[in-house]
Every structure is written in C-alpha cells, then in structure tokens.
Assembly symmetry: C2
Homo-oligomer: 416 residues x 2
C-alpha cells in the first residue's frame, strides 16, 4: 500500500496514568506502516487543532518514546476544551480544526480520552464525512472513572483502582492503630457521577474488620441519618471506621452534597468542581457522633501514580493504541476501540470496536446489582470483575530515589 | 550475664511507615540476649501501661515478626495519650503505670515516638529513679515531622519525604499537562509547626519550570498579598503553579490560617487539628486571581505509604531498634538513641544517644538558612541534607496486585 498521508494523535480530557502508554502504542504501530508518512501530535487535545499547535513526533528520540510508556500526565497536554454542539463543518471551530488538519495533510486522527472527548472525536468524524474530507477518526477509551459504555473497562481504571486500594489498605492499618484517638478516616476518590473508583477500594479488605468498612457511591443518594447510623455501628463493632466515598455524592433530592457553585470552580466542560464531600462528612460525624474524623483527598495522585500502576492496565493501553492504528489502516472510521473480556479463565481481553456516536457523551453508571442492599458496600461479583484489572506492578525507572519520566521535545511540525 | 527481667516495647504518637521496623529491630535484638526473658508489647503506647493491656510477643511466629519490618501503621497501636505534667510517682497515672510494669516484671522499656512521646518516656524514667524502681528507659526517635532535636533526622522522615516527592513529581506532570484548564495545584503535607516535609518536596524538581514551584513552610508567616503575587508570577512564567505547603501555615500575627477551634477537632494532645489550609489557599487564588485551583491532601497516606518507602529509612529504623536494646543492656538509661551523620561521603549515620530530657517536648524548627530569601523555597544545602534519606526502594510483598502486611496475634501476657 502506498503512502496516504500523516497521522495526528491527541490526548484529551484529564490525563490518567497510562494515557501516554496508548500514545506510545500509536507511535510504535504507526512507525511500522508505510501508509503513514509523519506522526504528528496535537497539543492539548482539540486545542492544538484550533490553535495550530501541532508537533512532529518524528523528532523525538527512541529513548523518549520508550519513556512515554511509563510516564504519567499527558505528554502532549490534556484539555477541558471540547467542540461545541453544532455538527456542521461551517461552525467556526470545526472549520478551524479542518483548516489545520488539511494544512498538515492529516488523514488519520487518534483521539485518546473519555466520554466528553469521544463526543469531540465523533463530531470531527461526522463533519469529515459530510464534507468528503478523507479523515479516519479512531477513539481510544481513557478514563479512570471507567464510565465509558461498550467496553469492559477503560484505560487508567486498573491503575487508579490499584493505587486507591493499596492506599486504603495502608491508611486503613494506620487508622486501625489509632482507633482510640482518631477513629474515623474518610478517603475521597475522584469520579463525578459514577462509583467505579470508590468501589474498587473494596479490594483492600482482608476480613470483616479491616478497611474499608463503608463505601458510598454517587449512584446511591446519601441519607444523612442512615450514614451516621452506619458509621456509629461500625465504630461500635470494629472500634473505628474507614469510609471511602466518591466525590460526587448526592442527597435524596439529587443535589451534590458539596458542590461549589461559583463560576471559577467550574471545569472547562461546565461541570461544577466537587471537592468538599470529605470535609462535609467529616463535620457531620464530628458534630453528631462527637468522633474525631479526618479526610484524605488523593485527588490527581489517583490519576498520576505511575509508581504503583497496574501492568495489566499499561499493557492494555499499549495494545489499544496499536490496534487503533491497525483499525485505521484496515479502513475503519468513526469508531472507538474497546476491550472485550473473554469468558474463560485466566482473564484476557481482546480488542473490539464501537461506533463513536454510541459512546459519545454517555455515562456508564455502576451497576445496581453490584451494590449491597444497605447501599454502603459492593458485592463479591464486582470484586471478581475488578480483581484482574489491578494485577502486575509497573516498575518505573528510579534515579536518586525518585521515578524519572520522559518529556517530549515538542518540535513544531512543518505544513505540507 | 544472668536473666534480669522482661522488656516492654511501646509505639506512641501517630505511626509513621517504619515504626514497626524499629519494633522488629527491638524484638530481634532482644531475642538474642539472655538477660531479657520475655518480650512484651504495650497496646497503644502508654495506654497499655495504664489499662493493663500488655501482650506477649513471644507467641508471634517468625513470619509475622519478619512481616513487621515492612508493615505500616503501629502494629501494637499508637496513641495520643500522654502522661500529664506531674513528675511525682504519686501521680495516679504514673502509679498505675508502675503497678503494671511491676506486675509484668518489666526492667527495660523501649518507647518509640516523637517529641510528645519522649516526654512520657522521660517522666517514666525520672519517676523510676525517684522510687528506686529498676527500670531502664530508652526512646527511639520516630516522627516523619522530623522535628526531634539532637538527631540528624528522625525515623519515618525519609519514607514520607520520598513518597511526597514522588507524588509531587507525578502530580506535577499531571498538572503541567492541564495548565490551560486547571493551572494551580496545592499539595498539603503533614507537619504541624515545622516544614521539614513540605521542604522535601523540592527533591521532585528537575528544572526551573517543573514542580514544585513554590514551597511554604510553617516557619515563614504567610503574607497573603506576597503569596498571591508569587502564584501569579509563576503562572505567568511557567503557565501554571504547583504549590506545596505544610498544614500549619500561620499569618503575620502567628495565627493558624485554617484551624478548626471546636473541641472535637482537637487531637488527644490538645493541639487543634489543621486540615483546611489547602482549601483556604485555593479559595484565595480563585477569588483573587480567578484561576482554577485544586487541593491534594495525602494526609495519613504520607505516614503509611510502605509501597514506596525509603530503604535507607527502613534500615535505620531497624538499626535504632536493635541499638536501643544494646544500649539498655550496656546499662544506659533515660536516653533516646540518635542518628549521627558522618562527615565523609558516601552518606552514613552511626548511632548516638542523648538524655531524654533534652529532647522531650522540644521542637526542631526548619533552619532559616535553608529557606530562600523570598521565603517561598528551600536552598540547595537542604537538598544535600535530605537527598540521601530517600535512597533505596522498599519492596513490599504483593499478592493479587496489592501489598500484604503482617498482623500481630495479640496474646495477652501472663503476670509474673
């Protein structure tokens, strides 16, 4: 097959630990195929296409490319910018993006991101078809929130789950040894509307008495009295309580327990920022139960803790990056690559695909059948689902006692 | 030398990652010496002596003892309880403690803790001398706050420093890739009045432009205007800002920026709990600079992250535990073992000792000469001090993707 044009890869949304591993997969696979002449990168997702910030990854040395595999953050930059609602290419944003894509002769676009980002990928793909621009768009599902539909799980989830579960096991032992003085710990995980990540903390538990004792998911409205009764019962039976909660807990009326509603606190997608749920519950416990409580907010460490990432997650991130390129070269377009779990043991996922419009902007909630009757824990079926995803430890390179990570040179691409 | 009596070991204050490694060192060394018949443990520091909760560590199997070496939390339980001010043995608490010590024929007491705990150790030692009770008390300096006097550094500091620095490097890369949307991250470390831990985050920095950009220590009063100017300047020059701060920041009048002053929020030592400094600064930035900011609060994960602990710290913790026993058998009493750094390269510390009364209740502030003129960073001399303390990685045992840790059987001791 002869040369067709250049490929462009972009990382969008907030990064998760293994997003650069997918970038690595895309680059390594693209290097193998003659149909692709240059491998370009878009700075900050769609922003690079709107602002003409396109870099030529051909200038990066092999060591840097290898280093990407185990580097947290988004090496090309993430973004909260998305294309606005119009699907028409006449829309000024889309027009700008297509001008840049043409300028660099981009024929393949690999868009790594979550459900908001898949919407942007879908719009680009749709507009290309409408205008007969020869562009193949393939999405790669990256979100530790794990809320993308049609894939067994999303990239980044296994690593975040592993880090959160390890942190809960360790902080749980710490809390246990301090029950007499500081009996309650609340650990808040990211995940706006879905409870996949707080749920995964259940992996830390070794027996009825060990952390975490209570898990609250955004899918289950929090009833304050029930919550306080749960905490008190646990303290009575165990001596203290280790609570894990998602950041987006809602009350019975569906209102966020701790939303900051000023404009500055909204992220670029217009979602209110949620941070205060731990402090809210902490105060509830201190006022009503007169028990000392503390909050752990790992925040972006959950998205970036490569020093204790899941090798399974990393391997799958590379695999999906590679497969995105292969699918594009097979002529597929407007799809997101997916992970399809095989029925048989041991755990294995093969790669599938789904139309972008089926996942764009949609949210996969935590399944009700995996929540216990009390609404304060997860079931063993969920544990069977999540357990294989955290297996294997990524060994980062260490220098002077700290992990060392790669940085791209970011050489601006030449227009064609 | 013939048998003299039993030894008792206690873990006090809040645990830090390697406190059980010192416990391991005490046990392994004590096992070697005939002068010590039984190795007993006090549950929750001094509380076990007040409430007659003494366990016989002779019932623990070898695998558990080995496992202690790399187990976070305080295996025997920590405490915020301390002996009150009186030094007289007639004081009811001291009387109770001595009744229990006699009941179990305790002749050696090893007390692992920070400066509050060294005060309790000192009082026990002093009271024993006053009443001619044959008790040798040796303290082991454990506090990741690193604020004990007369020792080069304290146990737990190296591991906490390593974990914080790695987290800052990783979260820094994450933040850097999101500058266009979420430019400011504030990471709050523990350390009430001293800035040793936030200072250590400077190890993460790889160049002028990388995280952390600004470090604020409790030793330097925060001037709001100056702080905002620092953040704005950094954002202008770098694109965003990664800020590390101690939890106990004070304003120009010496008031904590974010103290909760209700009774429940005071810890057992009567200190107000400090948690809100990140949220305080976050609001300051959002209101005044109109920039999106987020807070990371690693909280007790800093004290318990054995999965990325410092091997140097762990080795020293075992060494000091062993040496405490050796000193006791040499007849030393009323001392704390210390780490003395040797002048020559490579880094090495030998063990020294200091009278407990010289360290009890005293606090070693972060040295002013290691703070830059602007009051917003640390100097390279500090980096030379801290760098060797984080070297080497502890390899924890992993099962099903998570670290596995030891638990004591806690068999109650028989009175003599």
């Amino acid at each position: 097959m002869k040369e067709k044009g250049n490929c462009l890869v972009a990382e969008a949304g907030g990064p998760w630990a293994v997003i650069n591993a997918s970038l690595y997969g895309v680059i390594k696979e693209a290097q193998k195929h003659r149909e692709i002449s240059k491998i370009l990168g878009s700075r900050h997702g769609i922003e690079g296409m709107l602002n003409d910030e396109i870099v030529d990854l051909g200038w990066e040395d092999e060591k840097t490319i290898e280093g990407l595999k185990k580097t947290p953050g988004a090496a090309l930059g993430g973004t909260r910018t998305r294309l606005r609602s119009s699907k028409l290419v006449a829309h000024s944003d889309l027009q700008k993006a297509f001008d840049v894509l043409k300028k660099y002769d981009v024929k393949y676009l690999f868009y790594l991101g979550g459900n908001d980002s898949m919407d942007t990928a879908y719009k680009l793909s749709h507009a290309a078809k409408e205008t007969d621009y020869d562009l193949q768009v393939i999405g790669v599902p990256k979100t530790g929130d794990n809320d993308l539909l049609e894939t067994d799980h999303s990239l980044g989830y296994g690593s975040a789950a592993k880090y959160v579960a390890a942190s809960v096991r360790e902080a749980g032992l710490h809390t246990e040894s301090m029950y007499t003085a500081e009996p309650v710990t609340i650990l808040v995980t990211v995940g706006r509307n879905t409870g996949w990540l707080p749920a995964a903390s259940a992996l830390a538990r070794e027996g009825k008495k060990t952390a975490p004792h209570l898990i609250y998911l955004p899918e289950v409205p929090l009833i304050r009295e029930k919550f306080l009764a749960d905490v008190e019962k646990t303290c009575r039976e165990v001596g203290g309580a280790f609570i894990v909660t998602g950041e987006g807990l809602v009350d019975e009326e569906g209102r966020y327990l701790a939303a900051e509603d000023d404009e500055v606190s909204k992220d670029g997608f217009g979602h209110p920022e949620l941070g205060g749920v731990g402090e809210y519950l902490e105060e509830l416990i201190q006022k009503n139960l007169k028990k000392n409580a503390r909050t752990v907010k790992l925040d972006i460490c959950q998205q970036s803790a490569m020093h204790f990432a899941s090798q399974t997650d990393l391997d799958e991130a590379i695999m999906l990056g590679r497969q995105a390129v292969e699918f594009a070269l097979q002529g597929k377009n407007g799809i997101m690559v997916t992970l399809q779990r095989e029925e048989k043991e041991p755990y294995h996922c093969h790669v599938g695909s789904i139309a972008l419009e089926k996942v764009a902007n949609k949210e996969r909630k935590f399944p009700p059948q995996w929540i216990n009757k009390e609404g304060n824990y997860v079931t063993s079926n969920f544990l069977s689902y999540v357990r294989p995803l955290i297996l294997g430890e990524v060994h980062v390179n260490i220098e002077e006692g700290l992990p060392v990570y790669a940085r791209l040179k970011m050489i601006k691409a030449e227009p064609e």
